[in-house]
């Protein structure tokens, strides 16, 4: 049981690294989907003692949205925009991997420093959550394509979710639903925006948006 | 101790004799080389006795100098440095007799020998001095004598530039040492080293530590204070490069270690950031040093950058030791310090060997450009064999000595990584990473250096016409190569001597854990010897298999291309290109290319050059800015006598007014 939680968290860390090291946008989207599923399972495992219909429902909705709906929307937006690869990101892939290791070290250090109440024996939850948040932020900063940045946003959201699961445990259903709805709207809006940006400019490189400035 | 003083005197006498005989260069060479050889033989006995745990020798001579006392002492730490200094200097001197022969009539051989002997004597004195004033005096003598040695071929502009760079850099280093010694002196109330131990408070100790790292680090050539090194070492005659790179850099390490022994004598563990600082400095020097070496295609420049790398490894060892000390892990501390200090000796042996080998090549082909060489192993078998030995040793591979010292540092780092708490394990795993990367890159660099220079076909007429150097040059190289092998196979016997040398740093508590490393080294040396033996056996077996069979000689597989030429071989630049491209961000290699853009082959060329990044982007702007600011002051220099007298009068007046 504890080993399983550990394995899921390690899986989360590996998925963070994969998303940083991968240049294929479709691959990144798939990894995010997997993260969503992993987090759902994680919620169920951590709340195993206090299993209720509400917990199962929340985890189910989360898995459905993050593991199914969002990736589908993103993949469709990517297909319509004709984006396959992130070419020439601001930070190269080897650099990203090295930075990932550095982020991991910082995350673990933060995890030992923050006086947080975590489930007994689950010392990896907080570092994994931090690492996932860092990864999301890094993707938003260091990549050019709008689509990858949305992926970054989703990864960031996953990190926050993991953090919440780890520390708070029982989140009021309304708040949790609200967060999911926010994410949903965000992905939806960004999908539409990407579609329109692409139609107007034939690319979705955000660094060139600055040329719109009057 | 009298013997050592006698050795110093002999060095001076033979230097002066060589200078007096300067009108007869051959005699001057013999007279000049006799000094270091005799000194080395004399000093061998007391140094070995002290290292084997004998009594520490000390003496004091009368010296009329305010605050200065001519007190000298030979303890195990000094002995550990003096042995390679004198040994390598003696071999270098023998080598120099023949190496300098082509320069007869062009440059002054006699004065070169005077400087050489002064350099050797001052290095020995630096290691013996137990008074800050005496130390600094020897330190400056060392700087000046080596400056003149670097400037030996003073009619060449690049040599003069290199020498000036060296002089400026070394004095900037000394500028950091002065305040350090002064604050020691102030706290201790005397400039004698005996009073220095543990006299500083924590804050002052931290400042002095940083000053020592910068000041001594400049001499040792840590990044980014190394800028003089890749200039000065190629410019000097090769036996001088060997001595400078092999042992003179180590006086910087000696100074750092000596000051560290004062600093760690205070009760309580040293702060962890000291160890971190050394680790970072060591890792940066090591990795960048080997990377820049990889990008070079001037043989001696390549070796010079490797000195930066090896100094980095030594500093890493010291850093492991400090981390161990501050964490209260005596095993880690002892292994780290011991590995670092052993690497001092080992590097002296193989870097001396490699520079002598490079000199032998230079002597034969008159070019240091690796890409013009090739096929020298057939023409210079002894130089080739010894260079290969040095190359394997410097790559830190078994069965030679380079592996032993790296093994000790690694063992210390692994010990802390496996058993230590997270704050100890985290820095030490960085050491493991840095050493692994350095090791891999060093293999890349030395397969390149040896492979391109000595193997394949000659890439130019000069290389094709090369000939082996004479005995006076090959015998020192063979002796050093033998020392590399002995250092690898006899390592367990070196450990007791090392333990006595480490004691002032890691404390007496360190000796016992170091003894436990003895059996490990027996394993390492034993297996190394086994590998060597097995290789010889297999070679014999293969020869036996092939006797009576059809063994033919043919051309190298040319892939069906009928007219291969030596110029089609892979060059040093092409060999290193994948790695230099990969580390482009750090190296900033400049490429000048002319590529063919038509379908049929036409003339094309590519030139690469990797200038020193810190010199170009750090020092050049800094010095230019300083120059610009200072040029304002030049209006004072009118060249008119009256104005100067006016300055004098004004100064006197101001002083009078101020004092009254």
């Amino acid at each position: 049981m504890e080993n399983l939680v550990e394995a899921i968290l390690v899986g989360l860390l590996i998925s963070d690294m994969t998303v940083l090291a991968s240049s294929r946008v479709a691959g990144c989207i798939r990894v995010t989907a997997m993260q969503g599923l992993l987090l759902g399972v994680l919620t169920l495992l951590l709340q195993a003692e206090a299993m209720s219909l509400r917990v199962v429902l929340m985890a189910g909705i989360g898995m459905l949205l993050k593991g199914g709906v969002f990736p589908y929307l993103l993949a469709r937006a990517g297909k319509e925009a004709g984006v396959q690869r992130e070419v020439e990101p601001f930070v190269g892939y080897i650099g990203s991997v090295l930075l990932a290791v550095a982020m991991l070290v910082v995350a673990v250090w933060l995890g030992t420093r923050l006086p947080l109440q975590v489930h007994a024996g689950q010392t990896l939850v907080v570092p994994a959550a931090f690492m996932t948040m860092f990864t999301g932020l890094f993707l938003i900063v260091a990549r050019r394509k709008a689509l990858t940045q949305v992926v970054g946003f989703l990864v960031f959201e996953n990190g926050i979710y993991a953090f919440g699961v780890a520390t708070v445990g029982e989140v009021p259903a309304l708040v949790e639903l609200g967060v999911l709805l926010d994410a949903f709207v965000a992905v939806f809006v960004m999908g539409i925006a990407i579609y329109h940006i692409n139609r107007e400019f034939d690319h979705i490189d955000t660094d060139q948006l600055s040329s719109l400035k009057g | 101790m009298t013997i050592l003083m006698l050795a110093l005197l002999l060095l001076l006498l033979s230097g002066v004799a060589a200078f007096l005989l300067r009108s007869r260069p051959t005699a001057a060479s013999v007279a000049g080389a006799a000094g270091p050889v005799a000194a080395a033989m004399l000093a061998l006995v007391p140094a070995l006795t002290v290292l084997r745990g004998g009594e520490v020798l000390s003496t004091e001579l009368p010296w009329a100098m305010p605050f200065g006392r001519f007190c000298v002492q030979l303890d195990a730490l000094s002995a550990l440095f003096i042995l390679p200094i004198l040994g390598l200097s003696a071999l270098g001197a023998v080598y120099g007799i023949e190496y300098l022969r082509p320069y007869i009539g062009k440059y002054s051989i006699g004065s070169s020998w005077l400087c050489y002997n002064l350099l050797v004597a001052s290095m020995v004195l630096v290691c013996l001095a137990r008074n800050a004033l005496l130390f600094l005096l020897a330190w400056e003598l060392m700087a000046f004598s080596s400056f003149f040695l670097v400037a030996f071929e003073n009619r060449r502009k690049e040599v003069r530039n290199a020498a000036w760079t060296y002089l400026v850099a070394t004095h900037i280093g000394t500028a950091f040492l002065l305040p350090m010694f002064l604050s020691f002196g102030q706290a201790a109330g005397s400039l004698d080293f005996a009073q220095f131990a543990g006299c500083l408070g924590p804050a002052q100790a931290g400042v002095c530590f940083v000053l020592a790292v910068i000041g001594f680090g400049t001499k040792a050539g840590i990044m980014p204070l190394h800028v003089w090194l890749p200039e000065a070492h190629p410019a000097a005659p090769s036996h001088v490069s060997a001595v400078m790179s092999g042992v003179m850099l180590k006086t910087g390490i000696y100074g750092l270690v000596r000051v560290l022994s004062f600093l760690v004598a205070t009760p309580g563990a040293p702060p962890a950031w000291w160890g971190w600082l050394l680790l970072i400095v060591g890792a940066v020097s090591g990795i960048l040093g080997v990377l820049f070496a990889l990008a070079q295609h001037d043989l001696k420049r390549l070796l010079a950058y490797h000195s930066v790398e090896n100094i980095g490894i030594i500093i890493l060892g010291l850093g492991v030791g400090l981390i161990g000390l501050s964490a209260g892990a005596p095993v880690v501390a002892a292994l780290g310090f011991a590995g670092g200090l052993l690497h001092v000796v080992n590097h002296a042996v193989f870097k001396g060997l490699l520079f002598l080998g490079a000199g032998s090549v230079l002597h034969a082909v008159h070019t240091r450009e690796i890409d013009h060489l090739g096929g020298l192993l057939r023409r210079m078998p002894l130089t080739g064999l010894t260079f290969l030995t040095g190359a394997v040793a410097i790559s830190g591979l078994p069965p030679l000595n380079g592996f032993i010292s790296e093994f000790l540092i690694y063992a210390g780092a692994f010990q802390g990584t496996v058993n230590g708490a997270a704050p100890v394990a985290a820095p030490l795993v960085l050491v493991i990473l840095a050493l692994a990367l350095i090791g891999g890159l060093a293999v890349a660099c030395f397969t390149k250096a040896f492979g391109i220079v000595f193997l394949g076909e000659p890439r130019g007429a000069a290389a094709a016409a090369a000939h082996e150097s004479g005995r006076l040059m090959t015998v020192p190289m063979l002796l050093l190569a033998g020392a590399c092998l002995a250092g690898g196979l006899l390592a367990p016997f070196l450990l007791p001597a090392l333990a006595t040398a480490v004691a002032p740093l890691a404390g007496a508590a360190a000796i016992a854990p170091l003894q436990t490393a003895g059996p490990l080294l027996v394993w390492v040396s034993g297996i190394s010897a086994g590998v060597l033996l097995a290789a010889l056996l297999f070679a014999a077996w293969k020869r036996w298999l092939l006797t009576g069979r059809d063994v033919r000689r043919a051309v190298t597989w040319d892939c069906g291309y009928a007219a291969p030429s030596p110029r089609m071989q892979y060059t040093a630049s092409s060999f290193a290109q994948p790695l230099t491209d990969f580390f482009e961000v750090l190296l900033r290699t400049r490429k000048h290319m002319r590529l063919p853009d038509v379908h049929f082959p036409t003339a094309a060329n590519i030139e690469t050059e990797t200038p020193d990044v810190s010199r170009e982007s750090l020092y050049a702007p800094l010095f230019n800015a300083t120059g610009r600011v200072l040029s304002r002051v030049r209006v004072m220099q009118s060249g008119c006598i009256q104005v100067y007298v006016l300055y004098l009068v004004l100064t006197l007046l101001v002083l009078l007014i101020w004092k009254l």
Partner: protein, 299 residues
């Protein structure tokens, strides 16, 4: 009990060429071919040892020293590797370093032997070999450091019969080691042992000019190296059973080795070789995995 290390050493010497046979048969199966016999490498070795030799006019003794030093070094490595839960024939604290560095010695001499021919193809292969090795070395040692800390031992024989089989940390370290294993042994996706174009080879091109007994030694050394690094991975992943005769654990270990060979064959069948410029990315990934493993152990 005491005879176990020697038996394992002997098994390594005997069965190492078999691994390559298994890999090739697996690949043939995936390609729908019959493939060479499993024992093909043994026949090749026997034949090569009976032949004469052709040496290039350019070469010197260094060329001939390459294969013998390589074999001697890899034999030392074999003696340091524990197998099937028993200690290695030779073991001491820090033997993992010696393992990494004797393999380095082997590489050094293979590379200089390649450069000795003066062929630009072999220079090219040598250049690639040292590049990849330099980048693989940190990943290897970091993965070993992680495993060593997990086991609390500095000796491979203390590390390898993994105390907690299949813990996430060790799985990650083993993952890094698998990448290093494929790289060091010049397998797909780093190098294609079956390629016939000199320009694209790495290991094969370095030994292009060796023939007869020299080539036999090289092929055998390569097989042993595959065995050594494979045993490292198998030892880390395959659990040993307590309370049974050591022979049982030996059999489990051998099964693990065969499984590894099959996995390598499958990987080679289903993946393409990566472009040379992308190889450092893979090695960086190995380093990242090892770092992750280490951070997890450190925690």
């Amino acid at each position: 009990m005491t005879s176990a290390p020697l038996v394992h050493l002997f098994l390594g010497l005997l069965l190492a060429p078999l691994l390559l046979g298994v890999i090739n048969r697996t690949k043939a199966f995936f390609a729908g071919r019959r493939g060479p016999p499993v024992l093909q490498l043994y026949w090749d070795l026997a034949k090569l040892l009976r032949k004469g030799a052709v040496y290039s006019q350019t070469t010197t003794w260094v060329f001939q020293a390459g294969p013998v030093v390589g074999l001697a070094a890899v034999l030392a490595a074999l003696a340091l590797i524990p197998f099937g839960g028993a200690a290695a024939p030779l073991h001491f604290n820090g033997d993992l370093l010696l393992l990494a560095y004797v393999l380095g010695l082997m590489r050094f001499f293979t590379v200089v032997a390649a450069l000795d021919t003066g062929s630009s193809f072999e220079g090219m292969g040598a250049s690639r070999e040292v590049q990849f090795a330099a980048l693989a070395e940190p990943a290897l040692l970091l993965a070993l450091a992680a495993a060593a800390r997990k086991a609390g031992s500095l000796s491979l024989s203390g590390i390898l019969p993994a105390a907690v089989p299949l813990s996430p940390e060790l799985a990650l370290a083993a993952g890094a080691l698998v990448i290093v294993f494929l790289c060091e042994n010049s397998r797909v996706p780093f190098d294609d042992p079956n390629t016939h174009l000199e320009l694209t080879m790495i290991h094969e091109v370095m030994v292009l000019d060796h023939s007869g007994p020299d080539l036999a030694l090289i092929l055998y050394s390569a097989a042993l190296k595959l065995w050594v690094l494979g045993a490292l991975i198998v030892g880390m992943l395959v659990p040993t059973v307590a309370g049974v005769p050591w022979v049982a654990n030996t059999v489990i270990g051998l099964a693990g080795m065969l499984l590894l060979a099959v996995v390598v064959g499958v990987v080679e069948s289903v993946t393409a070789r990566v472009r040379l410029v992308r190889v450092p990315h893979l090695l960086a990934a190995a380093g990242a995995l090892a770092a992750l493993a280490f951070v997890l152990v450190l925690r």
